[in-house]
């Protein structure tokens, strides 16, 4: 073993293993038995986790300030002034991400064995899942923006293919397309940022850019602000923040393990990761940081408010994801990078747990996702209910579950850095979170059963392959927060610290009395939310309707999600298509339209053909060329 170890802790192995798994399953899976497919795919995920652990061990053996492993697979582009390497980087930040991705990823692979057990495209699913893992690992291990972008687009593609996995459902196919297209808007900004960085720094390598940045872009300069905001725009698309969040709720059309892995635990945090990775650039642009914080804070509250009234079990968790991602950006924006990443990690556990538990419910009820037709499930789904409760407590930020520690730290940092208003926004969100999480829990698992007879007859607890990941994730959701005690100087922070520039607000300090007071206040808010949920949905189930009747406008706004989808449709999609049709009608009166009508009568008659050409479009085309030529020549003659 000892002679294999030094080979196994090569960081390039981490993404390559699942890539190989994906190819094997994708190319040969059709003729394999299901058991072999699952074995190869889960085996690849486990080996990737082991490889990450091996590199992590190697990293820990180094002194804290020197914890960086690099490995270059050679030059990628080396031409003239531009040089980019095919290089990987393993520092505390990448290590955290790689461990989260492979750890949670493995559990979700195992869960999928049961969940997708009866699907006819078993091998396609596992091949894509492995491919996703590989791309995500490229993203978090890249040592330059171009390789990061390669992974970034790769996970986008996998996400698209997996959302649309059940392409027979029209909603799934269109949700996949929507996700892909909305993300392109943010990606375009990233491309512009990359081009700009090539010109400024002659490379896309993180290290060179970050060391050169303070000299090239002075602190607070417009260039630094615009560059960092372009990167942030990409993050807004990927991490589903306002105003580009619209794709994520629809992405729930994909199979539930996909929602858990891609749209909760890993891919959607890529934006958070990129902003954290680019911290040295954001440090130069206080304006950008302020914008990051506010976009995050407002998104957190906004998404939580929508989650209050939804009835689809997966959609509530999806809006909750958007809201929690908002917290992470809030943390990054106030300079608490480690706290943001800490929340990313705890969130990966409890959000994957919530989705998988929801999946277990859906599986048990033969596809039912509507809360109004659930209720009382705890009696027959004991494990699922217990695990879901742990996830809900963690998500609501109740002490001592994981979410409490990380969220508390973000709110504390917001307050301490002088963003009092943002603290209030965050605390209000906490109250909303408590309410919607437990509204979901009570409606699904407690109270009386409202199951359809069909679903009731199908009701069964999930197989072990699904329960085991649930239990492990529940354990994680309960405990990973302890790595962050005491706040800001826990094990986690000391490990992660060297990855980030020292910002105004960082460095350990003992919990102050005011800090404890603030934490208590946030806790009280969350508790109040839970109590409200208890009152309206468990003790007195008639009340919510009365409430909706009393505030009809508010209720309608929330149910219709502020009409943002409709707004985008009217403002962007329709005008673009109408414009395209108009331009097309004006400039594209071509062969098809004219020729199809008269094709029979014209056939074989050269004379008729010529006549049509003379009276038809050709003069219009000549006119277009002439007008163009006259304008062009006029300009050159009189202006040139």
């Amino acid at each position: 073993m000892s002679h294999i170890w030094p080979m196994f802790n090569q960081i390039w192995l981490i993404p390559v293993i699942p890539l190989v798994g994906s190819l094997v399953v994708g190319l040969m899976g059709r003729s394999m038995r299901r058991g072999s497919v699952a074995l190869i795919a889960c085996g690849a995920a486990s080996l990737a986790l082991l490889a990450s652990l091996a590199s992590f061990w190697r990293l820990l053996s180094l002194p804290p300030d020197a914890r960086v492993l690099r490995h270059s697979l050679g030059s990628w582009i080396a031409s003239g002034e531009l040089s980019v390497a095919f290089g990987f980087l393993f520092d505390p930040l990448s290590a955290t991400m790689a461990l989260v991705v492979t750890g949670v990823g493995l559990l979700i692979h195992v869960y999928s064995i049961g969940y997708m057990g009866e699907d006819r495209d078993y091998h396609r699913f596992f091949s894509l899942l492995n491919l996703f893992l590989a791309e995500m690992l490229v993203l978090v291990l890249a040592d330059n923006y171009l390789l990061l972008f390669l992974g970034w687009e790769g996970v986008g593609l996998c996400s698209y293919l997996l959302i649309a996995f059940w392409f027979e459902r029209p909603a799934a196919a269109s949700a996949g397309t929507k996700a892909f297209l909305v993300n392109r808007i943010g990606d375009a900004a990233v491309v512009v940022a990359m081009i700009w960085m090539i010109l400024l720094f002659g490379t896309l390598d993180f290290q060179t850019i970050f060391t050169g940045a303070p000299a090239t872009l002075s602190h607070g300069s417009l260039a630094a602000s615009v560059l960092s905001l372009l990167l942030f725009a990409g993050a807004v698309g990927k991490s589903a923040q306002l105003p580009l969040y619209v794709w994520l709720p629809d992405a729930m059309e994909g199979p539930t393990p996909v929602s858990a892995l891609i749209h909760a635990a890993t891919m959607v945090t890529a934006g958070v990761y990129m902003v954290a990775r680019s911290a040295p650039l954001f440090q130069l642009a206080p304006v950008s940081l302020e914008i990051v914080a506010w976009v995050g804070g407002i998104t957190a509250l906004y998404a939580a408010s929508i989650a209050l009234v939804q009835t689809d079990i997966k959609r509530i968790i999806a809006y909750s994801t958007i809201s929690q991602l908002g917290y992470m950006f809030l943390g990054l924006g106030v300079g608490a990078y480690a706290a943001g990443i800490f929340h990313l990690m705890t969130h990966a556990f409890f959000k994957a747990l919530l989705f998988l538990a929801a999946g277990s419910v859906i599986h048990a009820l033969a596809g039912e996702q509507d809360l109004r037709r659930m209720g009382g499930l705890r009696r027959s789904l004991r494990v699922t209910a217990g695990c879901f409760l742990v996830g809900a407590l963690a998500n609501a930020g109740i002490i001592p579950f994981a979410g409490f520690w990380s969220k508390d730290e973000i709110l504390l940092a917001a307050y301490a850095s002088g963003h009092r208003l943002l603290w209030i926004v965050g605390a209000l969100t906490a109250a909303g979170t408590g309410f919607y999480m437990f509204r979901l829990y009570f409606l699904a698992f407690e109270g009386e059963s409202r199951l359809t007879p069909e679903a009731a007859s199908h009701l069964h607890e999930s197989p072990w392959s699904m329960r085991l990941p649930l239990v492990l994730l529940a354990l994680g959701s309960a405990t990973v927060g302890f790595f962050g005690i005491p706040p800001e100087s826990g094990v986690f922070h000391r490990f992660l610290g060297p990855s980030f520039p020292v910002s105004g607000h960082q460095g350990g300090s003992a919990p102050s009395p005011s800090g404890i007071g603030l934490a208590l206040a946030a806790l009280v808010m969350a508790g109040a939310g839970i109590l409200m949920a208890f009152r309206y949905y468990l003790r007195d189930p008639k009340e919510p309707e009365a409430l909706a009747e009393r505030y009809p406008t508010l209720y309608r706004i929330l149910v219709h999600k502020y009409w943002v989808d409709e707004l985008y449709d009217d403002l962007v999609v329709r005008p673009t298509m109408a414009g395209a049709r108009f331009v097309s009608a004006s400039f594209d009166a071509g062969l098809v339209d004219g020729a199809v009508n008269g094709i029979g009568s014209l056939l074989g008659s050269a004379g008729a053909l010529l006549r049509r050409l003379q009276t038809g479009h050709v003069p219009a085309y000549v006119l277009s060329i002439l007008v163009g030529a006259v304008v062009l020549l006029g300009y050159l003659a009189f202006h040139g």
């Binding site: 582009i77 593609l157 027979e168 014209l602 050409l613 062009l632 300009y635 050159l636 003659a637």
Partner: protein, 484 residues
């Protein structure tokens, strides 16, 4: 009267000779080959192109002028030859079985393909505006005929006739432009025009109008708005194999000549010509992408897509200098691979002369023809500019060149345009994988030659997307002579 014949140095013409003789041999061979042996003709075409490639590689690094500076041999010309040879080889491959069904006169077809390739080579090697014009006409005349190659088909005839009428009209602009430039500078030889402009005098109006007229002529060939209107009609009407050849070949040749004339001979006038080309680039990108959004015929969609790509290439031309020219050369390779690849898939999927031309025809193919569909998706992603494809790298280099030339707004408009384009490139992919076929079609074995074309294009698209370094280096060397 003494007629002084110019001394001809044959080296600069060496790479063209195999193509020229190949074209002649195809024509003559057709007469003598029995009906069952016609496959020999495309093989001959491929062989002559391969020979031309070998000569080009052998000559790499040589710089020579021939026929009184009218023909230039430099890395730029050789790089362009390689691009044209690639285009021709792929086009011949995808024509081989496409034609069998409908055309008995194979010899003509392949000799016309080779002659138009020769025209392209002359355009890239032209050291004299007259030679560039000669190449342009040689290319165009062959293409007019090729467009109408399906004599019994009305659409094919209409395409040929439209192209001929409009092409002749546009050529007259080009020729008149040459005349005015001759009037202004006293020469049509590019080197002497450079020398004439070197003294820094402000350019005369005559020269500027001449330049503008050249631009109209080129604008027509590259399908730039507003000189583009023939493009969709002709591309849709022409036989699919010819469309593929035109879409990649004409554009490559016209851009090679554009770089020669505008970046090599007239860089001193960049202040004057960059503004109009800026406008053309924006119009071309935007209109091409916008109209492509609503096309249902895949050939017509690719026609508008080719207009949009002309716009991206014009961005690089505006950016100018060595970075602009380098990115043009790189992009031409990527562009040829992904377009010819897409057309090769269309041809490989045709069944008994029934082509799949409507986007809806592709429904459900993702699972019935998994490999071809995956390749089609790859080409669409490359056209849309997504990594890890050559199309992404090409766009990255073009927009970088634009930013480097301080045309930030052009880069932003270009990136936004490529966002819009994702929508229509994604449509065939969505339909292939996510729609059920309306009618069950019998599966017919595909042409082996077309599959070869698909495979070569797919390999190239991935190769230059993942490892663009070598190609970029070659492109940079090729334009080193053009100056910074």
């Amino acid at each position: 009267m003494d007629l002084v014949l110019p001394r001809i140095d044959w080296a600069p013409l060496a790479a063209m000779l195999p193509v020229a003789f190949g074209g002649l041999a195809a024509l003559v061979g057709d007469l003598f080959l029995p009906a069952g042996r016609k496959r020999f003709i495309p093989a001959l075409g491929l062989a002559s192109l391969a020979l031309s490639i070998l000569v080009s590689i052998g000559l790499w690094g040589t710089v020579r002028f021939s026929v009184n500076d009218a023909v230039v041999l430099d890395r730029f010309a050789l790089f362009s030859y390689l691009v044209f040879a690639l285009v021709s080889i792929l086009s011949i491959l995808l024509s081989m079985d496409y034609l069998d069904a409908s055309a008995p006169d194979q010899g003509e077809y392949y000799s016309l393909v080779l002659f138009s390739t020769l025209g392209m080579m002359l355009m890239a090697a032209g050291g004299d505006l007259i030679v560039i014009f000669l190449g342009l006409e040689m290319l165009s005349l062959a293409l007019y005929t090729l467009c109408g190659f399906r004599k019994a088909e009305l659409r094919s005839n209409e395409a040929a006739l439209k192209y001929l009428l409009l092409g002749a009209f546009a050529s007259s602009f080009f020729l008149y432009g040459i005349a005015l430039i001759y009037g202004a500078t006293g020469t049509t030889v590019l080197r002497r025009i450079v020398a004439f402009l070197a003294d820094g005098r402000p350019p005369s109006t005559l020269l500027l109008v001449g330049t503008g007229l050249l631009l109209v002529g080129f604008g027509f060939k590259v399908a730039s708005v507003p000189f583009h209107m023939w493009t969709p009609d002709v591309y849709e009407g022409a036989p699919t194999s010819v469309t593929a050849f035109m879409i990649a070949g004409t554009k490559a040749a016209a851009f090679a000549a554009l770089v020669r004339v505008f970046l090599m001979a007239l860089p001193t006038l960049q202040v004057q010509w960059s503004a109009p080309i800026w406008v053309l680039a924006v119009l071309t990108m935007t209109l091409g992408n916008l109209v492509a959004l609503v096309q249902n015929n895949i050939k017509r969609m690719l026609a508008y897509s080719s207009i949009a790509h002309a716009g991206y290439l014009l961005v690089a031309l505006v950016a100018g200098g060595s970075p602009g020219a380098t990115s043009i050369l790189f992009y031409l390779v990527a562009y040829a691979l992904m377009n010819l690849g897409a057309f090769a898939v269309i041809i490989a999927l045709q069944a008994r002369g029934q082509e799949l031309l409507s986007v809806a025809d592709y429904a459900g193919l993702g699972f019935r023809r998994p490999v071809l569909s995956a390749c089609m998706a790859l080409f669409m992603f490359s056209l849309a500019g997504l990594p890890p494809t050559a199309g992404f790298m090409g766009k990255l280099f073009i927009f970088s060149a634009a930013v480097e030339g301080h045309y930030h707004e052009l880069a932003v408009i270009g990136v936004l345009n490529s966002v819009v384009s994702v929508y229509f490139y994604l449509r065939p992919v969505v339909v292939m994988y996510m729609n059920e076929p309306a009618i069950e079609r019998p599966l017919v074995p595909s042409s082996a030659a077309a599959i070869w074309a698909v495979a070569l294009s797919a390999l190239g698209t991935l190769q230059f997307g993942l490892f663009p370094g070598r190609l970029l280096d070659l492109a940079r060397q090729s334009v080193a002579a053009l100056g910074g």
